[in-house]
């Protein structure tokens, strides 16, 4: 039960909002569609669960408009676990976000996996007490989301494919652009900010610190322990695994193996051991075989 607040206690500060993702670092956030899945994820060592009605692979297969999940399902999943519970809203759908905040979710994903509600504007995330995570394909997109109040980022990858290639492309883009900024002199940063369409102040901050202002996970296509460790070695702070776990033949075991590989991402002997005999991974899709209009990563502006 919530304790009584004092005058001295300031809730939901920016430090609190970016602090939650800091506590998730080095961990795996798993997509779950039932309370039973959520318990399997927690038992396997997930740091948080993403509560949704359909995993991205099914959204992709079934088509139609994908929306925020039924509050009933989100509450049942919250009831089932003690780890943080996240849920997705459509890009720009700030009322879905208000609903999720009222339900007490720990973090909101403004996600391209759902059908966008606004093709011009993302949610003003500063207006909320709950932290948001947003997708990005490059540094400019990442910093635009931070300017709007995102407290956490994730590279988009291509959700529901079980194919890590897009996640790798996006992580390389983000970290490569940071390295290029670091090599620029002060005067060049103004033009760089214009080129990547990001606020100058954030560009300056990244150039000086050498890292993003908030935590960045990888998402979209991670299906194996080696995929997770690959993303960690490329520099992300943790991983989201969506369809990759519950579309495989032995979800509990695969989930556990991905958790261990994320912790021990620099230890190939451990990654080898946990990768043995995991059964069939999700089947997966070749990106080139997906019609252009069905690619999700291009959603968001």
């Amino acid at each position: 039960m919530a304790k009584e607040w004092g005058k001295n206690m300031e809730t939901s500060t920016w430090t609190n909002k970016i602090g939650l993702p800091q506590m998730l670092k080095g961990g795996v956030i798993m997509d779950v569609v039932t309370p039973e899945h959520a318990q399997i994820a927690q038992e396997a060592g997930a740091v948080a669960v993403m509560a949704l009605e359909r995993v991205p692979a099914d959204i992709r297969a079934q088509g139609g408009v994908a929306r925020m999940s039924d509050p009933e399902l989100i509450l049942a999943i919250k009831e089932a676990v003690t780890i943080p519970v996240m849920a997705k809203v459509r890009i720009g759908h700030f009322v879905e976000a208000q609903v999720l905040e009222a339900l007490g979710v720990d973090c909101i994903d403004e996600s391209e996996v759902l059908t966008p509600a606004d093709e011009e504007h993302h949610i003003n995330k500063h207006a909320f007490k709950v932290p948001f995570v947003c997708g990005c394909r490059n540094l400019g997109e990442a910093l635009r989301r931070v300017a709007e109040g995102a407290a956490m980022l994730r590279t988009k990858g291509e959700a529901g494919t079980g194919n890590v290639v897009e996640a790798v492309r996006h992580a390389r883009a983000v970290y490569g652009e940071i390295r290029r900024l670091q090599g620029m002199d002060e005067n060049e940063r103004f033009a760089a900010a214009k080129t990547i369409q990001a606020p100058y102040e954030l560009v300056r901050q990244v150039a000086e610190s050498g890292h993003l202002p908030v935590v960045n996970f990888a998402a979209g296509g991670i299906a194996t322990p080696a995929d997770a460790a690959l993303m960690m070695q490329l520099g992300v702070d943790g991983v989201f695994v969506g369809s990759g776990i519950f579309k495989s033949s032995d979800p509990a075991r695969r989930a556990r193996a991905i958790v261990e590989a994320t912790t021990h991402y620099e230890d190939p002997a451990i990654i080898a051991r946990v990768s043995r005999g995991l059964g069939e991974p999700m089947h997966g899709l070749e990106i080139g075989a997906i019609p252009q209009e069905q690619l999700l990563a291009g959603r968001g502006w």
Partner: protein, 191 residues
Amino acid sequence: MTVGILALQGDFREHLQVLQRLQAPARLVRLPQHLEEVDRLILPGGESTTIGKLMVAYDLLEPIRRRAGHDLAVWGTCAGAILMARQITAGEARGQPLLGMMDIAVQRNGFGSQVNSFEASLSLPVLGEPRFRGVFIRAPVIESVGAGVDVLGSLPETGTIVAARQGRLLAATFHPELASDDRFHRFFLEL
């Protein structure tokens, strides 16, 4: 003296950065052999369920328990404090592994969910003045302490215990590693 930081999951790099600023020799601990050269250990913030399960899987509970408080000073922040507690009164995940070596009873998520996370100025007499900026994120609450445990500070408004010490064991329910104030780390280095 080398300070180990348990690096299975969580904000261990933030602790490492503070120790590097203080020029204290430090190393990350992921496997039992990493403990051998370590005489102090920090259990960072993170998800206590995840960290606990990985401690079991990689045989870290016993070697820490055996030395803790003797030739190994241990400090748990937030999730780390949960892992050190002898008892979890509420909010415990099924099968949550614990080190269970400090005589405190802890309630997980004692203030509610993430939107109830907060910052507060704390009076911690062992650190002197000024007050310490406490960052609380889905923080646990120390509900009671045993006879051999000193309370180091409480929230002034509610009396909720936020830090405690039992000999060479130290627990804080907030995140000194996220404050730009290294006094708590220096206190641990002298424990």
